[in-house]
């Protein structure tokens, strides 16, 4: 390689390397180191596994952790079930302008911040909110109904936030399915259910996995939605991290929690890929 070429390559690579190094690798190395430092006296730290031991000995921590993992899987599953028919419609039925319109409508809520979107749900669901008012006025409830601050509200908000990220890779995957392959599935005697199960879903598998990974990661790391819609009952693991860093000012503990969350999502994504028999490469291409 000529020196000039090498310089060009270096300059072209520089932003990516800087971004990767400064914003992703460096903070994580810092957090990793931090998570292994124990406070033995005021302003005296030494290397130790204390922060991780604390996680396993305090039930609140690991229960919140397990709850976050299970709820996130549930949210991902709900999002997939909801998004599949929508994606199927966008990819196979809608044509031209309608297709563009529908995708735009999915995108529209993301023009405002997550906080505003969540506040929108609060307006609908709170005791003096729209849903409560409608239920009372049609006589289904005799007094104001509080629909906020429960797991249902948290799941609802998280599914809503994840829907777009599921629909886009799904619609992409479904679009590439040749119409005649579906017709052949019917022609050879398959019912709607057989065609869906043996032809459409296997074909969409890379899209399903890609969408699920994205939604799961967004959900597990979400902060505002569980806090606002779940209130005190939210108990999302990110709240624990926030509390350690900001309220308790215990950075090493917070760092350990952060590393645990990273491990959790990595393990679940890996397990998901193994179970569906997909490779990370094909999945990333789909997403």
């Amino acid at each position: 390689m000529k020196p000039a070429q090498r310089l060009t390559l270096f300059l072209l690579m520089a932003p990516a390397i800087l971004w990767l190094g400064l914003l992703i690798i460096l903070p994580h190395v810092e957090i990793l180191i931090l998570s292994f430092s124990e406070r033995v006296a005021p302003r005296v730290y030494q290397f130790g596994l204390g922060n991780y031991l604390e996680f396993f000995t305090e039930p609140l921590y690991w229960r919140t952790f397990a709850r976050t993992a299970i709820m996130s899987i549930l949210v991902t599953a709900c999002t997939l079930v909801l998004a599949f028919p929508i994606a199927l419609y966008i990819a196979r039925v809608a044509q031209g302008r309608l297709k563009a319109m529908l995708l735009l409508m999915c995108l529209l809520p993301f023009w405002v911040s997550e906080l505003v979107r969540t506040l929108g749900w609060m307006i609908l669901l709170r005791e003096t909110g729209v849903v409560s008012y409608v239920l009372q006025s049609i006589g289904l409830a005799s007094q104001p109904v509080e629909l906020l601050y429960n797991d249902g509200a948290v799941i609802l908000g998280l599914v809503y936030g994840g829907l777009l990220f599921m629909i886009v890779p799904l619609a992409n995957a479904l679009e590439s399915l040749e119409p005649s392959v579906v017709e052949a599935g019917f022609d050879l005697g398959g019912s709607r259910w057989t065609v869906l199960r043996r032809i459409v879903i296997p074909h969409a598998m890379p899209g399903i996995v890609a969408g699920s990974i994205i939604v799961f990661m967004l959900t597990v790391g979400n902060f505002a939605t569980p806090v606002l819609l779940g209130g005190k009952n939210g108990l999302w693991f990110t709240e624990q991290i926030y509390a350690q860093f900001i309220t308790r000012f215990n950075w090493p503990q917070g760092a350990a929690f952060g590393m645990l969350l990273l491990m959790l999502s990595s393990i679940i994504v890996w397990a998901g890929l193994r179970l569906s028999g997909q490779s990370l490469g094909t999945t990333l291409r789909q997403a």
């Binding site: 040749e178 017709e183 050879l188 005697g189 057989t194």
Partner: protein
């Protein structure tokens, strides 16, 4: 029709908006027959086939398979299977699973379906291919899988929608023969759609020529070739010379036509009142080095070779002759005194009255 009729189409019309894609088509196909529908693209043949398969509903008319009306019967309940133009093999399944798919849909057990699929693959010459991915097959092999996938279900009728279109020429020639052999081996009724007249002529027992939504003529390949009933069939099926001119005289079916550029030709058929079309096959034109070698053919002309189109046994000559606005095309035998003829050489050519078909313009 007798009880051996597998498919009966009765006055089927399919309308898209104000446009009649299929316009009152009726025909029937006997058990074990290889029936082709031949027509240019956009003539409605694919719509007709999709109605037989059950992917479109006719606007009016009836489709009967073994005497049972198929109106309102969904595609997955019809005893009809289709080989798609793109073949539409299931890429997510192995070759064996592709063939077994239809059987498992019918509730045949996995083990039994696999056994039958393996046997079917053997019969179409794909023994041991069951575990391969369909993407790992050659064009001809994929073709056979697509047909095996249908035949394993023992359907009353197999529909084939230009399945040879994507293959290269050599393979297409080979598959024509193979398809015909498969059809004879399984004795299943085939309805074959194509725009390629040579595919239809080689394989079919009977051919329907379709144009602008209706059938022009139904008949054996020989009938269509030798006795076309309409100008469209005459020009679409096989190579032909086509001239139009004014009717000079007509008595019975013998017609004399004067071409605008001056020549007068004689043929047989139904002349128009003023204008007529006449067709003569290139192989019906006799060639000779002098008048005498043409014998007593009614049409005899003299011209010069304007081009030699060498194509082995299919070689032909284009001949420029005074009185013809377009050069005449004639088959050039590759064995004989004219085999080595060159451009510009003088030549005599002619044909019998019977060889020239005349239609009203």
């Amino acid at each position: 029709m007798s009880s051996s009729t597998d498919l009966e189409i009765i006055n089927v019309i399919k309308r898209f908006g104000s446009y009649n894609a299929v316009d009152g088509v009726s025909f029937s196909v006997a058990q074990g027959e290889f029936f082709s529908i031949l027509g240019p693209s956009g003539c409605g043949k694919t719509t007709l086939m999709r109605m037989i398969a059950g992917f479109e509903d006719p606007t009016s008319g009836d489709i009967r398979i073994r005497e049972k009306s198929m109106i309102g019967v969904p595609a997955n309940r019809r005893p009809v299977n289709m080989v798609f133009q793109s073949l539409a093999l299931f890429p997510m399944m192995s070759v064996g699973e592709n063939v077994a798919y239809g059987l498992t849909c019918r509730g045949v057990s996995r083990a039994e379906a696999d056994k039958r699929a393996t046997r079917m693959l053997e019969r179409v010459g794909l023994k041991g291919f069951g575990d391969r991915r369909v993407t790992a097959l050659s064009g001809g092999q994929r073709q056979r899988v697509a047909i095996a996938r249908c035949l394993v279900l023992e359907p009353t009728l197999v529909l084939l929608d230009e399945p040879l279109g994507a293959l290269d020429l050599k393979l297409r020639e080979h598959m024509k023969i193979e398809l015909k052999q498969l059809q004879a081996m399984f004795n299943t009724t085939f309805v074959y759609i194509t725009h390629d007249q040579s595919e239809a002529l080689v394989m079919s027992d009977r051919i329907a020529v379709m144009n602008q939504g209706h059938f022009e003529q139904v008949g054996s390949p020989r009938e269509l070739y030798n006795n076309p009933q309409t100008p469209f069939v005459a020009s679409f099926v096989g190579e032909t010379n086509r001239w139009s001119g004014e009717t000079a005289s007509a008595s019975g079916d013998a017609v004399t036509i004067r071409l605008p550029s001056g020549a007068t030709v004689q043929g047989k058929g139904q002349a128009g009142k003023a204008q007529s079309l006449c067709f003569v096959r290139p192989e019906a034109i006799a060639l000779g080095t002098d008048q005498a070698s043409l014998g007593n053919a009614a049409n005899r002309f003299e011209g010069r070779v304007s081009a030699v189109l060498f194509d082995g046994a299919n070689s032909s000559l284009l001949i420029d002759a005074p009185g013809f606005e377009k050069p005449a095309r004639a088959v050039l035998p590759q064995a004989g005194p004219l085999a080595g003829i060159g451009v510009g050489a003088p030549i005599h050519f002619g044909w019998a009255t019977d060889s020239m078909k005349v239609f009203a313009a």
